[in-house]
Protein backbone atom coordinates (compact mmCIF):
# COMPACT_ATOMS: atom_id res chain seq x y z
CA UNK A 1 0.00 0.00 0.00
CA UNK A 2 1.25 3.45 -0.76
CA UNK A 3 2.20 5.55 2.23
CA UNK A 4 -0.33 8.29 1.59
CA UNK A 5 -3.12 5.74 1.47
CA UNK A 6 -1.93 4.33 4.77
CA UNK A 7 -1.79 7.77 6.33
CA UNK A 8 -5.26 8.60 5.04
CA UNK A 9 -6.65 5.40 6.48
CA UNK A 10 -4.95 6.06 9.80
CA UNK A 11 -6.33 9.60 9.85
CA UNK A 12 -9.76 8.28 8.95
CA UNK A 13 -9.68 5.80 11.80
CA UNK A 14 -8.68 8.51 14.25
CA UNK A 15 -11.36 10.82 12.86
CA UNK A 16 -14.08 8.23 13.30
CA UNK A 17 -13.04 7.57 16.89
CA UNK A 18 -13.03 11.32 17.40
CA UNK A 19 -16.32 12.04 15.73
CA UNK A 20 -18.44 9.25 17.24
CA UNK A 21 -18.43 10.59 20.81
CA UNK A 22 -18.70 14.19 19.67
CA UNK A 23 -21.58 13.37 17.38
CA UNK A 24 -23.39 11.53 20.12
CA UNK A 25 -23.26 14.55 22.44
CA UNK A 26 -26.22 16.42 20.91
CA UNK A 27 -28.13 13.18 20.57
CA UNK A 28 -27.56 12.32 24.22
CA UNK A 29 -28.43 15.85 25.34
CA UNK A 30 -31.62 15.59 23.33
CA UNK A 31 -32.41 12.20 24.87
CA UNK A 32 -31.63 13.53 28.29
CA UNK A 33 -34.13 16.32 27.90
CA UNK A 34 -36.82 14.67 25.85
CA UNK A 35 -36.75 11.21 27.46
CA UNK A 36 -36.67 12.68 30.93
CA UNK A 37 -39.65 14.80 29.99
CA UNK A 38 -41.65 11.82 28.76
CA UNK A 39 -40.69 9.80 31.81
CA UNK A 40 -42.03 12.61 33.95
CA UNK A 41 -45.19 13.09 31.85
CA UNK A 42 -43.98 16.37 30.41
CA UNK A 43 -43.63 17.41 26.78
CA UNK A 44 -40.02 18.51 27.01
CA UNK A 45 -38.29 20.97 24.73
CA UNK A 46 -40.16 21.56 21.49
CA UNK A 47 -39.95 25.28 20.76
CA UNK A 48 -36.69 25.99 18.97
CA UNK A 49 -37.17 25.67 15.24
CA UNK A 50 -35.33 26.16 11.98
CA UNK A 51 -37.68 27.18 9.15
CA UNK A 52 -40.53 25.89 11.25
CA UNK A 53 -38.97 22.44 11.55
CA UNK A 54 -38.62 21.42 15.16
CA UNK A 55 -37.42 17.81 14.87
CA UNK A 56 -38.97 16.97 18.21
CA UNK A 57 -36.80 19.42 20.09
CA UNK A 58 -33.35 18.40 18.88
CA UNK A 59 -32.84 21.95 17.61
CA UNK A 60 -32.60 22.93 21.26
CA UNK A 61 -29.18 21.29 21.40
CA UNK A 62 -28.08 23.73 18.71
CA UNK A 63 -29.68 26.61 20.54
CA UNK A 64 -27.82 25.57 23.69
CA UNK A 65 -24.53 25.63 21.85
CA UNK A 66 -25.22 29.08 20.45
CA UNK A 67 -26.18 30.31 23.89
CA UNK A 68 -23.12 28.85 25.58
CA UNK A 69 -20.78 30.24 22.95
CA UNK A 70 -22.10 33.77 23.26
CA UNK A 71 -22.34 33.90 27.01
CA UNK A 72 -19.77 35.94 28.83
CA UNK A 73 -16.69 33.94 29.69
CA UNK A 74 -15.70 34.79 33.23
CA UNK A 75 -12.45 33.96 34.93
CA UNK A 76 -12.77 34.72 38.64
CA UNK A 77 -10.27 37.31 39.83
CA UNK A 78 -8.88 35.01 42.49
CA UNK A 79 -8.68 31.88 40.36
CA UNK A 80 -5.36 30.30 39.45
CA UNK A 81 -5.60 31.05 35.74
CA UNK A 82 -3.29 28.32 34.47
CA UNK A 83 -5.08 25.45 36.18
CA UNK A 84 -8.45 27.08 35.70
CA UNK A 85 -8.02 27.23 31.94
CA UNK A 86 -6.32 23.86 31.69
CA UNK A 87 -9.01 21.88 33.52
CA UNK A 88 -11.79 21.67 30.90
CA UNK A 89 -9.29 20.94 28.14
CA UNK A 90 -7.69 18.15 30.13
CA UNK A 91 -11.05 16.65 31.02
CA UNK A 92 -12.25 16.66 27.42
CA UNK A 93 -8.98 15.45 25.89
CA UNK A 94 -8.63 12.40 28.08
CA UNK A 95 -12.29 11.52 27.75
CA UNK A 96 -11.93 11.55 23.96
CA UNK A 97 -8.60 9.70 24.03
CA UNK A 98 -10.18 6.86 25.94
CA UNK A 99 -12.50 6.11 23.07
CA UNK A 100 -9.56 5.59 20.72
CA UNK A 101 -8.94 1.97 21.74
CA UNK A 102 -12.48 0.75 21.07
CA UNK A 103 -12.97 -1.35 17.93
CA UNK A 104 -16.05 -0.33 15.99
CA UNK A 105 -15.93 -3.16 13.46
CA UNK A 106 -13.88 -6.26 12.76
CA UNK A 107 -10.55 -6.00 10.99
CA UNK A 108 -11.32 -5.08 7.40
CA UNK A 109 -9.60 -7.30 4.86
CA UNK A 110 -9.56 -5.51 1.53
CA UNK A 111 -7.31 -6.32 -1.41
CA UNK A 112 -4.91 -8.34 0.71
CA UNK A 113 -4.54 -5.63 3.32
CA UNK A 114 -5.74 -5.65 6.89
CA UNK A 115 -7.24 -2.44 8.22
CA UNK A 116 -8.08 -2.55 11.92
CA UNK A 117 -11.21 -0.52 12.43
CA UNK A 118 -10.19 1.11 15.67
CA UNK A 119 -8.20 4.29 16.06
CA UNK A 120 -5.51 2.82 18.23
CA UNK A 121 -4.67 -0.82 17.77
CA UNK A 122 -3.06 -1.82 21.01
CA UNK A 123 -2.45 -5.28 22.29
CA UNK A 124 -3.30 -4.26 25.87
CA UNK A 125 -6.25 -2.20 24.69
CA UNK A 126 -8.32 -2.75 27.79
CA UNK A 127 -5.53 -1.53 30.05
CA UNK A 128 -5.27 1.55 27.86
CA UNK A 129 -8.91 2.31 28.52
CA UNK A 130 -8.39 1.94 32.26
CA UNK A 131 -5.16 3.96 32.27
CA UNK A 132 -6.43 6.90 30.25
CA UNK A 133 -9.78 6.69 32.02
CA UNK A 134 -8.04 7.26 35.34
CA UNK A 135 -6.47 10.40 33.89
CA UNK A 136 -9.94 11.90 33.81
CA UNK A 137 -9.59 12.68 37.50
CA UNK A 138 -7.06 15.36 36.62
CA UNK A 139 -9.66 17.53 34.93
CA UNK A 140 -11.82 17.54 38.04
CA UNK A 141 -8.89 18.14 40.36
CA UNK A 142 -7.58 21.02 38.27
CA UNK A 143 -11.02 22.58 38.12
CA UNK A 144 -11.41 22.35 41.88
CA UNK A 145 -7.92 23.63 42.53
CA UNK A 146 -7.86 26.27 39.82
CA UNK A 147 -11.11 27.87 40.92
CA UNK A 148 -9.44 28.66 44.25
CA UNK A 149 -12.76 28.66 46.01
CA UNK A 150 -14.00 26.44 48.80
CA UNK A 151 -16.97 24.72 47.23
CA UNK A 152 -15.30 23.70 43.97
CA UNK A 153 -12.35 22.42 46.00
CA UNK A 154 -14.64 20.29 48.13
CA UNK A 155 -16.46 19.15 45.02
CA UNK A 156 -13.17 18.21 43.41
CA UNK A 157 -12.07 16.19 46.43
CA UNK A 158 -15.45 14.48 46.62
CA UNK A 159 -15.36 13.68 42.93
CA UNK A 160 -11.81 12.41 42.81
CA UNK A 161 -12.35 10.22 45.87
CA UNK A 162 -15.40 8.71 44.21
CA UNK A 163 -13.60 8.10 40.93
CA UNK A 164 -10.58 6.53 42.62
CA UNK A 165 -12.83 4.24 44.68
CA UNK A 166 -14.89 2.97 41.81
CA UNK A 167 -11.95 2.49 39.48
CA UNK A 168 -11.05 -0.54 41.63
CA UNK A 169 -14.38 -2.26 41.13
CA UNK A 170 -14.29 -1.32 37.46
CA UNK A 171 -10.88 -2.89 36.97
CA UNK A 172 -11.62 -5.99 39.01
CA UNK A 173 -14.94 -6.71 37.36
CA UNK A 174 -13.16 -6.90 34.01
CA UNK A 175 -10.76 -9.57 35.26
CA UNK A 176 -13.43 -12.26 34.95
CA UNK A 177 -13.92 -11.37 31.28
CA UNK A 178 -10.18 -11.53 30.70
CA UNK A 179 -10.01 -14.96 32.31
CA UNK A 180 -12.79 -16.38 30.18
CA UNK A 181 -11.69 -14.96 26.84
CA UNK A 182 -8.01 -15.21 27.85
CA UNK A 183 -7.00 -12.11 25.92
CA UNK A 184 -6.70 -8.42 26.66
CA UNK A 185 -7.01 -7.21 23.09
CA UNK A 186 -10.42 -5.57 22.81
CA UNK A 187 -10.97 -6.72 19.24
CA UNK A 188 -10.12 -10.29 20.22
CA UNK A 189 -12.57 -10.07 23.12
CA UNK A 190 -15.32 -8.99 20.76
CA UNK A 191 -14.38 -11.68 18.28
CA UNK A 192 -14.57 -14.30 21.01
CA UNK A 193 -18.07 -13.15 21.83
CA UNK A 194 -19.27 -14.25 18.42
CA UNK A 195 -19.14 -17.90 19.49
CA UNK A 196 -22.30 -19.66 20.47
CA UNK A 197 -22.98 -21.17 23.86
CA UNK A 198 -24.97 -24.44 23.83
CA UNK A 199 -25.36 -23.90 20.12
CA UNK A 200 -27.85 -21.04 20.24
CA UNK A 201 -26.87 -18.44 22.83
CA UNK A 202 -24.30 -15.85 21.70
CA UNK A 203 -21.40 -16.00 24.12
CA UNK A 204 -21.67 -12.40 25.14
CA UNK A 205 -19.89 -11.21 28.23
CA UNK A 206 -23.14 -10.62 30.00
CA UNK A 207 -24.11 -14.25 29.52
CA UNK A 208 -20.88 -15.72 30.85
CA UNK A 209 -20.19 -13.05 33.45
CA UNK A 210 -23.51 -11.61 34.64
CA UNK A 211 -22.19 -10.50 38.04
CA UNK A 212 -19.23 -8.76 36.46
CA UNK A 213 -21.59 -7.07 34.01
CA UNK A 214 -23.73 -5.64 36.81
CA UNK A 215 -20.68 -4.47 38.79
CA UNK A 216 -19.11 -3.02 35.69
CA UNK A 217 -22.17 -1.06 34.68
CA UNK A 218 -22.64 0.31 38.18
CA UNK A 219 -18.98 1.30 38.38
CA UNK A 220 -19.18 2.83 34.91
CA UNK A 221 -22.10 4.95 36.09
CA UNK A 222 -19.98 6.10 39.00
CA UNK A 223 -16.99 6.80 36.79
CA UNK A 224 -19.09 8.89 34.44
CA UNK A 225 -20.58 10.69 37.45
CA UNK A 226 -24.08 9.84 36.49
CA UNK A 227 -27.04 9.30 38.71
CA UNK A 228 -27.34 7.48 41.11
CA UNK A 229 -23.67 8.31 41.73
CA UNK A 230 -23.68 11.92 40.58
CA UNK A 231 -22.64 13.31 43.94
CA UNK A 232 -19.92 15.25 42.29
CA UNK A 233 -22.34 17.63 40.67
CA UNK A 234 -25.71 16.75 42.12
CA UNK A 235 -27.43 19.63 40.39
CA UNK A 236 -30.14 20.15 42.93
CA UNK A 237 -28.28 20.18 46.22
CA UNK A 238 -24.49 20.11 46.06
CA UNK A 239 -22.20 22.70 44.56
CA UNK A 240 -20.07 21.05 41.91
CA UNK A 241 -16.42 21.41 40.99
CA UNK A 242 -17.31 23.52 37.95
CA UNK A 243 -19.14 26.15 39.98
CA UNK A 244 -16.92 29.01 38.83
CA UNK A 245 -17.04 28.11 35.17
CA UNK A 246 -19.17 29.79 32.59
CA UNK A 247 -19.73 29.90 28.87
CA UNK A 248 -17.72 27.58 26.66
CA UNK A 249 -15.56 26.24 29.46
CA UNK A 250 -18.65 25.10 31.30
CA UNK A 251 -19.95 23.66 28.07
CA UNK A 252 -16.74 21.64 27.77
CA UNK A 253 -17.38 20.09 31.17
CA UNK A 254 -20.94 19.24 30.21
CA UNK A 255 -19.78 17.76 26.93
CA UNK A 256 -17.15 15.76 28.78
CA UNK A 257 -19.89 14.18 30.83
CA UNK A 258 -21.60 12.98 27.67
CA UNK A 259 -18.33 11.78 26.17
CA UNK A 260 -17.83 9.82 29.38
CA UNK A 261 -21.24 8.26 28.83
CA UNK A 262 -20.31 7.32 25.29
CA UNK A 263 -17.01 5.83 26.40
CA UNK A 264 -18.61 3.92 29.26
CA UNK A 265 -21.38 2.54 27.08
CA UNK A 266 -18.86 1.72 24.35
CA UNK A 267 -16.78 -0.24 26.83
CA UNK A 268 -19.87 -1.93 28.28
CA UNK A 269 -20.93 -2.97 24.80
CA UNK A 270 -17.45 -4.14 23.85
CA UNK A 271 -16.90 -6.22 26.96
CA UNK A 272 -20.35 -7.50 27.76
CA UNK A 273 -22.68 -7.08 24.83
CA UNK A 274 -20.75 -8.37 21.89
CA UNK A 275 -19.21 -5.11 20.64
CA UNK A 276 -19.68 -4.91 16.90
CA UNK A 277 -20.99 -8.46 16.70
CA UNK A 278 -24.36 -8.93 15.10
CA UNK A 279 -25.95 -11.83 17.00
CA UNK A 280 -25.52 -15.15 15.20
CA UNK A 281 -23.78 -13.46 12.27
CA UNK A 282 -20.02 -13.61 12.69
CA UNK A 283 -17.61 -11.98 10.30
CA UNK A 284 -16.77 -15.36 8.77
CA UNK A 285 -20.43 -16.09 8.20
CA UNK A 286 -21.03 -12.68 6.68
CA UNK A 287 -18.01 -12.60 4.36
CA UNK A 288 -17.72 -16.32 3.72
CA UNK A 289 -20.22 -18.50 1.85
CA UNK A 290 -20.83 -15.91 -0.87
CA UNK A 291 -24.38 -15.44 -1.97
CA UNK A 292 -25.68 -15.73 1.56
CA UNK A 293 -25.20 -12.10 2.47
CA UNK A 294 -24.69 -10.86 -1.08
CA UNK A 295 -28.35 -11.45 -1.76
CA UNK A 296 -29.68 -10.75 1.70
CA UNK A 297 -28.56 -7.14 1.84
CA UNK A 298 -30.08 -5.96 -1.45
CA UNK A 299 -33.20 -8.00 -0.77
CA UNK A 300 -33.56 -6.34 2.61
CA UNK A 301 -33.01 -2.92 1.10
CA UNK A 302 -35.61 -3.52 -1.61
CA UNK A 303 -38.17 -4.80 0.88
CA UNK A 304 -37.53 -1.85 3.16
CA UNK A 305 -37.85 0.65 0.33
CA UNK A 306 -41.03 -0.97 -0.94
CA UNK A 307 -42.56 -0.97 2.53
CA UNK A 308 -41.87 2.72 3.03
CA UNK A 309 -43.15 3.58 -0.44
CA UNK A 310 -46.29 1.52 0.13
CA UNK A 311 -47.02 3.20 3.42
CA UNK A 312 -46.51 6.62 1.88
CA UNK A 313 -48.76 5.81 -1.05
CA UNK A 314 -51.46 4.50 1.24
CA UNK A 315 -51.26 7.40 3.65
CA UNK A 316 -50.55 10.41 1.48
CA UNK A 317 -53.72 10.77 -0.62
CA UNK A 318 -56.00 10.61 2.37
CA UNK A 319 -53.88 13.12 4.23
CA UNK A 320 -54.12 10.62 7.01
CA UNK A 321 -50.38 10.75 7.43
CA UNK A 322 -50.42 14.40 8.31
CA UNK A 323 -53.45 14.09 10.52
CA UNK A 324 -52.04 11.08 12.31
CA UNK A 325 -48.91 13.03 13.03
CA UNK A 326 -50.92 15.98 14.25
CA UNK A 327 -53.08 13.84 16.47
CA UNK A 328 -50.20 11.83 17.90
CA UNK A 329 -47.61 14.53 18.21
CA UNK A 330 -48.56 17.79 19.76
CA UNK A 331 -45.43 19.47 18.51
CA UNK A 332 -45.60 18.25 14.93
CA UNK A 333 -46.36 20.99 12.44
CA UNK A 334 -47.80 20.89 8.99
CA UNK A 335 -44.64 21.43 7.00
CA UNK A 336 -42.80 19.15 9.37
CA UNK A 337 -45.04 16.33 8.19
CA UNK A 338 -44.33 17.35 4.60
CA UNK A 339 -40.63 17.40 5.30
CA UNK A 340 -40.61 13.93 6.76
CA UNK A 341 -42.66 12.63 3.88
CA UNK A 342 -40.04 13.92 1.45
CA UNK A 343 -37.20 12.49 3.54
CA UNK A 344 -38.84 9.09 3.75
CA UNK A 345 -39.53 9.15 0.03
CA UNK A 346 -35.90 9.92 -0.76
CA UNK A 347 -34.76 7.21 1.62
CA UNK A 348 -37.04 4.68 0.04
CA UNK A 349 -35.87 5.57 -3.44
CA UNK A 350 -32.25 5.44 -2.30
CA UNK A 351 -32.74 2.04 -0.70
CA UNK A 352 -34.44 0.72 -3.81
CA UNK A 353 -31.70 2.07 -6.08
CA UNK A 354 -28.92 0.67 -3.91
CA UNK A 355 -30.70 -2.65 -3.64
CA UNK A 356 -31.16 -2.85 -7.37
CA UNK A 357 -27.54 -1.92 -7.97
CA UNK A 358 -26.28 -4.57 -5.56
CA UNK A 359 -28.64 -7.10 -7.09
CA UNK A 360 -27.38 -6.43 -10.62
CA UNK A 361 -23.69 -6.22 -9.66
CA UNK A 362 -23.15 -8.76 -6.87
CA UNK A 363 -20.25 -7.50 -4.71
CA UNK A 364 -16.96 -9.36 -4.78
CA UNK A 365 -14.97 -10.39 -1.74
CA UNK A 366 -13.83 -6.82 -1.08
CA UNK A 367 -17.29 -5.40 -1.42
CA UNK A 368 -18.61 -8.09 0.86
CA UNK A 369 -15.99 -7.22 3.46
CA UNK A 370 -16.92 -3.53 3.22
CA UNK A 371 -20.62 -4.29 3.60
CA UNK A 372 -19.84 -6.49 6.58
CA UNK A 373 -17.80 -3.75 8.20
CA UNK A 374 -20.58 -1.25 7.59
CA UNK A 375 -23.16 -3.58 9.13
CA UNK A 376 -20.94 -4.21 12.13
CA UNK A 377 -20.41 -0.49 12.56
CA UNK A 378 -24.14 0.05 12.52
CA UNK A 379 -24.56 -2.73 15.06
CA UNK A 380 -21.93 -1.16 17.32
CA UNK A 381 -23.47 2.29 17.07
CA UNK A 382 -26.96 1.00 17.76
CA UNK A 383 -25.73 -0.77 20.88
CA UNK A 384 -23.70 2.22 22.06
CA UNK A 385 -26.61 4.56 21.53
CA UNK A 386 -28.90 2.22 23.40
CA UNK A 387 -26.58 2.05 26.39
CA UNK A 388 -26.12 5.80 26.26
CA UNK A 389 -29.88 6.01 26.51
CA UNK A 390 -29.79 3.46 29.35
CA UNK A 391 -27.53 5.80 31.32
CA UNK A 392 -30.15 8.52 30.96
CA UNK A 393 -32.93 6.09 31.67
CA UNK A 394 -31.25 5.07 34.94
CA UNK A 395 -30.78 8.69 35.86
CA UNK A 396 -34.49 9.38 35.75
CA UNK A 397 -35.35 6.18 37.60
CA UNK A 398 -33.10 5.94 40.63
CA UNK A 399 -32.63 8.36 43.48
CA UNK A 400 -29.19 9.51 44.45
CA UNK A 401 -27.01 7.76 47.00
CA UNK A 402 -25.84 9.49 50.12
CA UNK A 403 -22.07 9.93 50.23
CA UNK A 404 -21.49 7.35 52.98
CA UNK A 405 -23.78 4.93 51.17
CA UNK A 406 -21.80 5.52 47.99
CA UNK A 407 -18.51 4.71 49.69
CA UNK A 408 -19.98 1.76 51.57
CA UNK A 409 -21.39 0.30 48.36
CA UNK A 410 -18.12 0.80 46.52
CA UNK A 411 -15.75 -0.57 49.12
CA UNK A 412 -17.87 -3.01 51.11
CA UNK A 413 -20.28 -4.18 48.46
CA UNK A 414 -18.90 -4.11 44.96
CA UNK A 415 -15.20 -4.63 45.66
CA UNK A 416 -15.62 -7.92 47.60
CA UNK A 417 -18.22 -9.04 45.11
CA UNK A 418 -15.84 -8.39 42.22
CA UNK A 419 -13.08 -10.30 44.03
CA UNK A 420 -15.42 -13.20 44.74
CA UNK A 421 -16.44 -13.17 41.09
CA UNK A 422 -12.79 -13.53 40.08
CA UNK A 423 -12.29 -16.47 42.43
CA UNK A 424 -15.50 -18.22 41.39
CA UNK A 425 -14.68 -17.70 37.72
CA UNK A 426 -11.27 -19.24 38.34
CA UNK A 427 -12.79 -22.30 39.97
CA UNK A 428 -15.36 -22.74 37.25
CA UNK A 429 -12.69 -22.46 34.57
CA UNK A 430 -10.66 -25.10 36.43
CA UNK A 431 -13.66 -27.41 36.59
CA UNK A 432 -14.52 -26.90 32.96
CA UNK A 433 -10.91 -27.65 32.25
CA UNK A 434 -10.13 -24.75 30.02
Amino acid sequence: MEPWVEWTIMGGRAAVAWVIPLMLIPLLVWMERKASAYIQDRTGPNRAAILGLRFGGIIHALADVVKLIFKEDITPARARPFWYNLAPIVAMTFALLTFAALPFADVLRVGGHEIPLQALRLNPGLLWMLAIGSFGVFGIVFAGWGSNSSYPLLGGIRGSAQMISYELSLGLSVVGILMIFSTIDLNEIVRAQGKLLFGFLPMWGVVVQPVAAVIFMAAALAEANRNPFDLMEADSEIVAFHLEYSSLRFALFMMTEYVHITVASGLTVTLFFGGWQIPWLTTERLTGSAGDLALAVPALLVVLGLLVLLSLVLLAPTRRWHRTLQRLYVDARRHEAKFWTVVLLLQAIGALALGAYLFLNPPGADGLAAITAALQFVSFMVKVTFFGFAFIWVRWTLPRFRYDQLMALGWKGMLPLALANVVVTGFVLLLVGK
Binding site: Y38, T43, A49, V330, R333
Partner: protein
Protein backbone atom coordinates in the same frame (compact mmCIF):
# COMPACT_ATOMS: atom_id res chain seq x y z
CA UNK B 1 -36.01 10.20 67.30
CA UNK B 2 -35.17 6.87 65.83
CA UNK B 3 -36.99 5.89 62.70
CA UNK B 4 -36.83 2.14 62.15
CA UNK B 5 -35.67 1.37 58.66
CA UNK B 6 -37.84 -1.11 56.82
CA UNK B 7 -36.70 -4.71 56.70
CA UNK B 8 -35.58 -5.53 53.18
CA UNK B 9 -35.86 -8.97 51.67
CA UNK B 10 -32.85 -10.54 50.01
CA UNK B 11 -33.99 -9.56 46.54
CA UNK B 12 -34.48 -6.00 47.61
CA UNK B 13 -31.08 -5.89 49.26
CA UNK B 14 -29.17 -6.76 46.12
CA UNK B 15 -30.90 -3.85 44.35
CA UNK B 16 -30.75 -5.35 40.88
CA UNK B 17 -34.28 -6.75 40.70
CA UNK B 18 -35.82 -3.63 42.16
CA UNK B 19 -33.80 -1.45 39.82
CA UNK B 20 -35.08 -3.38 36.83
CA UNK B 21 -38.63 -2.99 38.12
CA UNK B 22 -38.09 0.73 38.50
CA UNK B 23 -36.68 0.94 35.00
CA UNK B 24 -39.82 -0.80 33.80
CA UNK B 25 -41.98 1.84 35.44
CA UNK B 26 -40.12 4.74 33.85
CA UNK B 27 -40.01 3.05 30.47
CA UNK B 28 -43.76 2.52 30.70
CA UNK B 29 -44.26 6.24 31.20
CA UNK B 30 -41.90 7.04 28.37
CA UNK B 31 -43.61 4.76 25.89
CA UNK B 32 -47.08 5.86 26.92
CA UNK B 33 -46.17 9.51 26.43
CA UNK B 34 -44.33 8.79 23.21
CA UNK B 35 -47.29 7.13 21.52
CA UNK B 36 -50.17 8.93 23.20
CA UNK B 37 -48.95 12.47 23.21
CA UNK B 38 -52.39 13.99 23.09
CA UNK B 39 -53.13 12.46 26.49
CA UNK B 40 -50.26 14.31 28.06
CA UNK B 41 -51.45 16.92 30.55
CA UNK B 42 -49.09 19.58 29.22
CA UNK B 43 -50.83 22.50 27.53
CA UNK B 44 -48.93 23.87 24.53
CA UNK B 45 -49.34 27.42 25.68
CA UNK B 46 -49.27 29.90 22.85
CA UNK B 47 -51.18 27.55 20.58
CA UNK B 48 -53.55 26.32 23.21
CA UNK B 49 -54.91 28.77 25.74
CA UNK B 50 -56.35 27.28 28.82
CA UNK B 51 -59.22 29.41 30.12
CA UNK B 52 -58.81 30.68 33.64
CA UNK B 53 -61.50 30.13 36.27
CA UNK B 54 -64.27 32.70 36.26
CA UNK B 55 -63.40 33.87 39.74
CA UNK B 56 -59.71 34.22 38.90
CA UNK B 57 -58.39 37.72 39.54
CA UNK B 58 -56.98 38.65 36.17
CA UNK B 59 -56.22 42.01 34.59
CA UNK B 60 -58.54 44.86 35.57
CA UNK B 61 -61.13 46.50 33.41
CA UNK B 62 -63.46 49.42 33.93
CA UNK B 63 -67.15 48.87 33.31
CA UNK B 64 -69.33 51.29 31.38
CA UNK B 65 -72.90 52.44 31.69
CA UNK B 66 -75.48 51.82 29.00
CA UNK B 67 -74.67 55.17 27.44
CA UNK B 68 -71.00 54.19 27.15
CA UNK B 69 -69.59 56.42 29.86
CA UNK B 70 -67.45 54.82 32.55
CA UNK B 71 -69.25 53.84 35.72
CA UNK B 72 -66.36 55.19 37.74
CA UNK B 73 -67.17 58.29 39.75
CA UNK B 74 -63.59 58.96 40.83
CA UNK B 75 -64.44 58.48 44.49
CA UNK B 76 -60.86 57.44 45.29
CA UNK B 77 -61.96 54.33 47.19
CA UNK B 78 -59.80 51.99 45.11
CA UNK B 79 -56.49 53.89 45.39
CA UNK B 80 -57.16 54.16 49.11
CA UNK B 81 -57.71 50.44 49.43
CA UNK B 82 -54.84 49.53 47.14
CA UNK B 83 -51.96 48.04 49.19
CA UNK B 84 -49.54 48.46 46.33
CA UNK B 85 -50.48 52.07 45.52
CA UNK B 86 -50.70 51.23 41.87
CA UNK B 87 -53.88 53.14 41.00
CA UNK B 88 -53.65 56.77 40.04
CA UNK B 89 -56.85 58.77 39.50
CA UNK B 90 -57.38 62.40 38.58
CA UNK B 91 -61.02 63.44 38.82
CA UNK B 92 -62.89 66.00 36.75
CA UNK B 93 -66.42 67.43 36.67
CA UNK B 94 -68.90 65.04 35.19
CA UNK B 95 -70.87 66.08 32.12
CA UNK B 96 -74.16 64.79 33.42
CA UNK B 97 -75.98 66.66 36.15
CA UNK B 98 -76.97 63.53 38.03
CA UNK B 99 -73.41 62.51 38.84
CA UNK B 100 -70.70 64.40 40.57
CA UNK B 101 -67.40 63.40 39.00
CA UNK B 102 -65.77 61.23 36.44
CA UNK B 103 -62.11 60.21 36.08
CA UNK B 104 -59.96 62.31 33.77
CA UNK B 105 -57.00 60.02 34.32
CA UNK B 106 -57.31 56.44 35.56
CA UNK B 107 -54.02 54.61 35.47
CA UNK B 108 -53.00 51.26 36.89
CA UNK B 109 -49.35 50.27 37.05
CA UNK B 110 -49.62 46.58 36.36
CA UNK B 111 -46.02 46.00 37.42
CA UNK B 112 -46.81 47.26 40.91
CA UNK B 113 -50.22 45.63 41.14
CA UNK B 114 -50.31 42.54 43.36
CA UNK B 115 -53.70 41.40 41.98
CA UNK B 116 -55.24 41.29 45.45
CA UNK B 117 -58.66 42.47 44.27
CA UNK B 118 -59.11 45.00 47.08
CA UNK B 119 -59.98 47.68 44.53
CA UNK B 120 -62.86 45.54 43.30
CA UNK B 121 -64.10 45.06 46.86
CA UNK B 122 -63.74 48.74 47.65
CA UNK B 123 -65.61 50.05 44.62
CA UNK B 124 -69.10 51.30 45.53
CA UNK B 125 -70.12 51.61 41.88
CA UNK B 126 -69.08 48.20 40.49
CA UNK B 127 -66.89 50.23 38.17
CA UNK B 128 -63.69 48.14 38.37
CA UNK B 129 -63.58 44.43 37.89
CA UNK B 130 -60.82 41.84 37.51
CA UNK B 131 -62.54 39.43 35.17
CA UNK B 132 -60.87 39.94 31.80
CA UNK B 133 -59.26 36.51 31.96
CA UNK B 134 -56.14 38.19 30.68
CA UNK B 135 -53.13 36.72 32.49
CA UNK B 136 -50.40 37.12 29.91
CA UNK B 137 -49.56 40.76 30.01
CA UNK B 138 -46.65 41.42 27.75
CA UNK B 139 -44.65 44.52 27.02
CA UNK B 140 -41.16 45.53 26.05
CA UNK B 141 -40.87 48.69 28.20
CA UNK B 142 -41.88 49.50 31.73
CA UNK B 143 -44.17 52.25 30.48
CA UNK B 144 -46.18 49.66 28.55
CA UNK B 145 -47.48 48.30 31.80
CA UNK B 146 -49.00 51.57 33.00
CA UNK B 147 -52.42 51.18 31.44
CA UNK B 148 -54.80 54.10 31.12
CA UNK B 149 -58.51 54.78 30.97
CA UNK B 150 -59.02 53.91 27.33
CA UNK B 151 -57.29 50.58 27.59
CA UNK B 152 -59.10 49.63 30.77
CA UNK B 153 -62.44 50.44 29.16
CA UNK B 154 -61.94 49.00 25.70
CA UNK B 155 -58.67 47.07 25.77
CA UNK B 156 -58.38 44.00 23.65
CA UNK B 157 -58.44 41.64 26.57
CA UNK B 158 -61.99 42.71 27.26
CA UNK B 159 -63.14 40.99 24.10
CA UNK B 160 -62.62 37.70 25.84
CA UNK B 161 -65.80 38.26 27.86
CA UNK B 162 -67.93 37.93 24.77
CA UNK B 163 -67.88 34.20 25.20
CA UNK B 164 -69.74 34.46 28.45
CA UNK B 165 -73.53 34.65 28.20
CA UNK B 166 -74.08 36.58 31.42
CA UNK B 167 -71.50 39.20 30.58
CA UNK B 168 -72.47 40.78 27.26
CA UNK B 169 -70.36 43.84 26.48
CA UNK B 170 -72.57 46.72 27.46
CA UNK B 171 -72.64 48.96 24.38
CA UNK B 172 -74.40 47.17 21.57
CA UNK B 173 -73.04 47.10 18.05
CA UNK B 174 -73.23 50.46 16.31
CA UNK B 175 -73.50 52.40 19.51
CA UNK B 176 -70.78 54.91 20.31
CA UNK B 177 -68.08 53.26 22.38
CA UNK B 178 -66.15 56.35 23.29
CA UNK B 179 -67.21 58.99 25.74
CA UNK B 180 -67.45 62.53 24.25
CA UNK B 181 -63.86 63.45 24.95
CA UNK B 182 -61.00 62.12 22.75
CA UNK B 183 -58.74 59.38 24.11
CA UNK B 184 -55.77 61.71 24.26
CA UNK B 185 -57.65 63.93 26.65
CA UNK B 186 -58.97 61.01 28.62
CA UNK B 187 -55.74 59.29 29.51
CA UNK B 188 -53.36 62.14 29.09
CA UNK B 189 -51.23 60.22 26.64
CA UNK B 190 -51.35 58.63 23.22
CA UNK B 191 -53.13 55.42 22.29
CA UNK B 192 -51.73 52.28 23.85
CA UNK B 193 -50.22 49.46 21.97
CA UNK B 194 -52.08 46.23 22.33
CA UNK B 195 -50.64 44.09 25.09
CA UNK B 196 -50.74 40.75 23.46
CA UNK B 197 -47.94 38.51 22.26
CA UNK B 198 -47.43 38.60 18.54
CA UNK B 199 -47.28 34.95 17.52
CA UNK B 200 -44.77 33.85 14.90
CA UNK B 201 -46.27 32.34 11.81
CA UNK B 202 -45.02 28.88 12.73
CA UNK B 203 -47.55 28.84 15.53
CA UNK B 204 -50.47 29.18 13.22
CA UNK B 205 -52.26 26.02 14.26
CA UNK B 206 -54.34 26.59 17.34
CA UNK B 207 -55.84 23.58 18.89
CA UNK B 208 -59.09 23.81 20.67
CA UNK B 209 -59.03 22.96 24.32
CA UNK B 210 -61.96 21.66 26.19
CA UNK B 211 -62.28 23.77 29.28
Amino acid sequence: MKVPSPKLTFWERIYVVEIIRGLGVTMGHLLKNLFRQSEMPTVQFPEEIKPVATRHRSRHRLTVREDGTPKCVACMCCPTACPASCIHIIAQEADAPWKEKKPRVFEIDLLRCVFCGFCVEACPEDAIRMDTGEVTIVGTRREDFIVGLDFLLHGEGNAWREGRPEEKPQPGPGEPLLPPSTPEEESGRGPRQVLRPKLPSAWETVREVKP
